[in-house]
């Protein structure tokens, strides 16, 4: 069986229905059972995440736990308002994470600036710069709401619908154009994202 499969090109392998679907389902099941969250807090949400992880709400029973570095993490939580100065660092962090990677937006500031809608340095439309999978509404959402967001993310993963990393890769030019519009000549260096381009070219 294995020897036969080696001769089939990759495109045809993707079209195999029966076995491949089972493999996908199993892989997704394993992925959703262990979500490692990057320990990176911006804004007020950084105060809501530790109770989620500790004894009272204990997110570890759902397979959610902290990771120290972007290379080990699956989930990036944008927790609360984000200034444009921090956005630069967040984008670099996100590009360092390994696929499959998911982004959760916590609180109303992530969606439209929230109560800082007229502030001179708070990002208003974050999905112009990063692909989001789940939004959790509230100001601030309680840990229950955050866990509910995680459960919704797990449901998405098991159905194979969480495609944030793919969207970022496919629309990389659009995301980079939006980022350049904000950062101007202080744009991120090109080596942070040049592997998104198939030819390995520069931005």
């Amino acid at each position: 069986m294995d020897e036969i499969k080696k001769d089939i090109p990759l495109e045809e392998l993707k079209n195999i229905k029966g076995e491949q679907q089972i493999v996908d389902w199993v892989v997704n099941w394993f992925r959703k059972q262990s979500l490692w969250v990057l320990a990176y807090g911006t804004g007020c949400g950084a105060i809501e995440v530790p109770p989620t992880m500790t004894a009272r709400y204990d997110a570890e029973r759902l397979g959610i736990r902290g990771a120290a570095t972007p290379r080990q993490a699956d989930v990036l939580i944008i927790s609360g308002y984000l200034s444009y100065k921090t956005l630069k660092r967040v984008i670099r962090t996100y590009e360092q994470m390994q696929s499959p990677k998911y982004v959760i937006g916590l609180g109303s500031c992530v969606m439209n600036g929230g109560m800082y809608w007229d502030s001179y340095n708070t990002a208003k439309q974050l999905d112009k710069y990063l692909p989001f999978d789940i939004y959790v509404a509230g100001c601030m959402p309680r840990p229950e709401a955050l866990i509910d967001g995680f459960v919704a993310l797990q449901k998405q993963i098991s159905q194979g619908k969480s495609d944030g990393a793919d969207r970022y890769k496919q629309n990389i030019d659009w995301y980079k154009a939006n980022q350049r519009e904000i950062f101007g000549d202080k744009m991120l260096p090109s080596y942070t994202c040049d592997w998104y381009y198939s030819d390995g070219g520069l931005v």
Partner: protein, 199 residues
């Protein structure tokens, strides 16, 4: 009056020290006197700590009101040394005030950061400072953002896009009731159809 006030009066006979209802001692000095008075408070009356330098922008009176908040561990007393400077900006395009305040970095090292923030956020010129460069902001070209004549809303509308909201601006509760009514009607219809099929 208390001991510390008498002490202060004997040291600075020409100055007016008042104690307000919360027990804070306040006085007002000019920019040229500031360095001398603060140095004497630190050295001779043992006000060891500079807590912070606060700034208020009184655009109606055309002044920037600076408060140097000094605390003494020996006497357990707080002194507010107030300085009022005009808020006019210099003409050279640097967006900083005409009047310079002296840096207190030599007395208290933490004044370095406080003055850097004032320089960046309120546009106050500081003289004698060792490290005057951008602190919180990155690549900022406009007016200093904490001044009250800086229009944040105007700036935001020029520079950033907002997420488009709902166009209809309907009352959400009424809309939700309508949607629920439609759903309930559909469900009732389905149930009645099912009963007919079963019957």
């Amino acid at each position: 009056m208390s001991l510390i006030i008498d002490n202060l009066r004997s040291f600075f006979p020409n100055m007016d020290f008042t104690r307000d209802s919360t027990g804070l001692i306040k006085c007002e000095v000019t920019v040229n006197e500031l360095m001398t008075i603060v140095l004497r408070l630190h050295n001779e009356l043992s006000f060891e700590s500079l807590q912070t330098i606060s700034c208020t922008d009184w655009i109606e009176e055309n002044t920037l009101h600076l408060n140097y908040i000094l605390y003494s561990y020996t006497h357990n007393e707080t002194v507010f040394v107030a300085v009022k400077i005009p808020r006019e900006l210099a003409d050279d395009g640097s967006k900083r005030t005409v009047v310079f305040i002296p840096s207190l970095e030599k007395i208290w090292p933490q004044a370095n950061h406080f003055e850097r923030e004032l320089w960046e956020m309120f546009g106050i010129s500081v003289t004698g400072h060792s490290n005057l460069k951008e602190f919180f902001l990155e690549d900022w070209q406009n007016l200093p953002p904490m001044r009250r004549d800086f229009d944040t809303l105007d700036f935001v509308n020029q520079k950033f896009d907002f997420r488009p909201g709902r166009e209809d601006n309907k009352d959400v509760t009424a809309e939700r009731k309508r949607v629920r009514g439609v759903k309930a009607a559909l469900k009732a219809k389905e149930e009645s159809n099912g009963e007919r099929e079963n019957g």
